[in-house]
């Protein structure tokens, strides 16, 4: 289906360099290690919950790597830790949302170019369209990259977003991580017709259905899509086929809806292992490099864990102070009442 996007329109990038390939590997290891560690943190009581992205590292790192944070803007769901890490977002600030410190995370979305973590399924897809149309109105060349899942594709907002983007020729890249599941519902009971990419044609939007576990394919496709959108050709949709190897979240029990055998059969080769084999085969990296990358990932995780553990609660006054830019007398009265009754001041 990859032919839907004319190859010519995405000619911006040549083949990946060895440095780029090694960097992709390092990122994927860092993400994998942080992700699996976060589950352990939850079991140890460091954080109350987490939504793992195990198995989606190639899709997330590959797409996030294409972003130009000087001009693009990214709209995540609740599962894009790998994208955030790839974009260089402060990971303590990012993970704070899973510590129940602040909904949306403590990072600065304007500076990091990553919109706040979004818990409403399909909630931010339209935001990407609005932001992208703003680029057109401002004669800027930024591109909006919006993530959503196979489950999210069922929401009306996704349809409205695709139609708006296509009518307005907004520079948006719709990036679907089709990980086979929306909690307990498999894609075939969710996505009629079997493919989100197939929907795009109905709006005249070019689409790429790609192997989401091949980080090189993901990065190349995303670069093509960015180049297409950036040149004023309107939106593109990428459907990255991958597999949610873990539970939906730390409170989910996949054993209730899929067997371990099924998991093994459906998940295919681990995307990280796949890149490792490729780098080895192409002589781009060796075991020493892999060991170094893992050590770096471990050091990084430790630093982030320390940061998360040190993270205190936000002061309760922020509940009131951050509602508006211009506060109101009613809210100030409530804040005063709260201080009196809860902080006894």
């Amino acid at each position: 289906m990859d032919t839907l996007l004319p190859v010519a329109s995405g000619g911006a990038a040549g083949p990946l360099t060895a440095d780029e390939l090694r960097e992709l590997y390092s990122l994927m290891v860092a993400v994998r290690h942080l992700d699996t560690s976060a589950i352990a943190w939850q079991r140890q009581g460091i954080i109350p919950g987490y939504a793992p992205e195990l198995g989606q590292e190639a899709a997330q790192v590959g797409s996030g790597y294409a972003v130009d944070t000087t001009r693009d803007f990214v709209f995540p769901t609740y599962r894009e830790m790998g994208v955030a890490r790839t974009m260089g977002v402060d990971m303590v600030a990012y993970m704070s949302t899973h510590k129940a410190t602040w909904h949306g995370g403590l990072y600065n979305p304007m500076e990091s170019r990553l919109a706040p973590i979004q818990a409403v399924v399909a909630g931010s897809v339209l935001h990407a369209v609005g932001w992208a149309h703003g680029q057109t109105l401002d004669s800027q060349d930024g591109v909006a990259l919006t993530y959503f899942g196979d489950g999210a594709s069922s929401q009306g907002d996704v349809h409205e977003a695709m139609n708006f983007a296509a009518v307005m020729k907004a520079p948006v890249v719709f990036f679907v991580q089709n990980n086979g599941w929306a909690i307990s519902v498999p894609t075939e009971r969710q996505v009629a017709g079997g493919s989100v990419a197939a929907r795009a044609a109905g709006y005249g939007i070019p689409a790429l259905k790609i192997d989401g576990d091949d980080v090189v394919a993901v990065l190349e496709a995303t670069r093509r899509a960015f180049a297409h959108a950036r040149s004023g050709n309107g939106p593109v949709l990428i459907e990255a086929m991958t597999y949610r190897r873990g539970p939906h979240s730390t409170s989910d029990d996949p054993g209730r809806y899929r067997s371990l055998d099924e998991e093994r059969d459906e998940s295919g080769i681990d995307p990280l292992e796949r890149l490792r084999q490729r780098l080895l085969a192409d002589g781009i990296a060796d075991e020493a490099f892999f060991a170094e990358a893992l050590a770096a990932a471990k050091a990084e995780e430790e630093q982030i864990r320390t940061g998360i553990q040190a993270l205190g609660s936000r002061p309760g006054t922020e509940m009131f102070d951050l509602v508006f830019q211009e506060t109101t007398p009613a809210l100030q009265a409530q804040a005063a009442n709260w201080r009196e009754e809860s902080e006894h001041v």
């Binding site: 403590l106 409403v120 935001h127 609005g130 932001w131 977003a161 139609n163 951050l322 508006f324």
Partner: protein, 360 residues
């Protein structure tokens, strides 16, 4: 109305009225021109577009047609199709897109065509627009002014005469305002559309074509644009209303005056945050209050207004605050709308109940 009201009115008369002159429509300075609310809103939007290059107007039929109520008439021709444009027919799309435009530094002024068609956009309004400033810790303000032609009274099809103020007022992160006449419409829209926070601007569609004096040079003689406004001074009872019900309450006050009942009419203007001070000040004086709205009774904004009054004036109140509202029924078809919207008779009955109230 029965004569017995007057007994109680006399008892109420012992409260001396505050004589401060407020800037009601009766004042007519030289800078005043007569225009309809539709014209006043159109002029306000025209000026907002001219003053703020980041202001953009969009919605269904807002552009070429100028809106089904012509509020955006001529604005596309004047400011260009990038500043004023039509969207596809999808309210969630319109409001969701507004979020992204606000993130990109714009001041979106979207329109939903009729009140009842705000419902498909509620998810984006409540979960996104109202929360993005909070979620982003103040780094992503949402200066979105959502215009909603509101309330009933025009004998329209289903869903074209809804009152969503109680819903909007309950949502943390939203501000809500409704003008009652052309002067208020002009100034409140200009004020709302220059704020850094989301404002739901509820336009009383039955008043669009009513003319009134607009002093474009100043809003209020004194006081804040965010407060309530005394539209008529009175000593015996406070009528609280907003939107289209304000002019009806002023009519009622005139009628009651013929019976010697001196009613104060308070235009709440801001439905969130509510000007609790103004409610208290008025009712401390009059010691009686009736709140009037078109929306259904139960869990309507009248309950909030009544409770705010009761909290602040418990000792001085002579009777429980009365609510005269729409019923707990779906807004009916044109033939029955006069039975549904509080009419003069029902408001007078409500006033009568309050004035006749005797402690048991």
């Amino acid at each position: 109305m029965s004569n017995s009201i007057l007994e109680n009115v006399d008892a109420a008369g012992d409260n001396t009225a505050d004589d401060t002159v407020t800037n009601t429509a009766a004042d007519s300075p030289a800078s005043t021109t007569v225009m309809s609310m539709q014209q006043a809103l159109n002029r306000a939007l025209d000026e907002v577009l001219a003053e703020n290059p980041k202001a953009v107007i969009f919605g269904e039929d807002c552009g070429r047609l100028g809106g089904v109520f012509r509020i955006t008439d001529g604005l596309q021709a004047k400011h260009g199709p990038q500043r004023v444009f039509d969207t596809p027919l999808a309210e969630s799309g319109i409001l969701g897109m507004s979020v992204g435009l606000a993130m990109a530094g714009f001041h979106p002024i979207p329109e939903v065509q009729f009140d009842g068609f705000a419902y498909p956009a509620i998810n984006q309004i409540v979960c996104q627009i109202a929360r993005m400033n909070y979620r982003s810790r103040g780094t992503m303000p949402m200066p979105i002014t959502l215009r909603v032609p509101s309330f009933g009274g025009i004998r329209a099809p289903e869903h074209h005469g809804e009152s969503l103020e109680a819903l909007f007022a309950h949502v943390p992160g939203l501000k809500v305002v409704s003008p009652s006449n052309p002067h208020e419409a002009y100034h409140l829209l200009k004020y709302a559309a220059t704020r850094p926070d989301p404002v739901i601007f509820m336009e009383p569609k039955s008043r669009y074509w009513q003319k009134g004096e607009v002093d474009v040079s100043r809003h209020d003689a004194a006081g804040s644009p965010t407060g309530a406004k005394v539209m008529r001074e009175g000593r015996h009872l406070t009528l609280v209303a907003w939107g289209a019900m304000v002019s009806r309450c002023l009519q009622v006050a005139e009628l009651a005056a013929e019976d010697g009942i001196d009613i104060e009419v308070l235009d709440l203007r801001w439905l969130k945050p509510i000007d609790a001070e103004a409610l208290a000040a008025s009712v401390r004086k009059t010691r009686r209050a009736v709140v009037v709205h078109e929306a259904p009774l139960t869990s309507g904004l009248g309950a909030e207004v009544a409770q705010l009054i009761t909290q602040s004036c418990f000792d001085t109140l002579k009777a429980p605050v009365e609510r005269v509202t729409g019923f707990d029924v779906p807004y009916p078809s044109g033939d029955l709308e006069d039975e549904y919207i509080p009419n003069i008779d029902r408001i007078l009955f409500g006033i009568q109940r309050v004035l006749e109230y005797k402690r048991g």
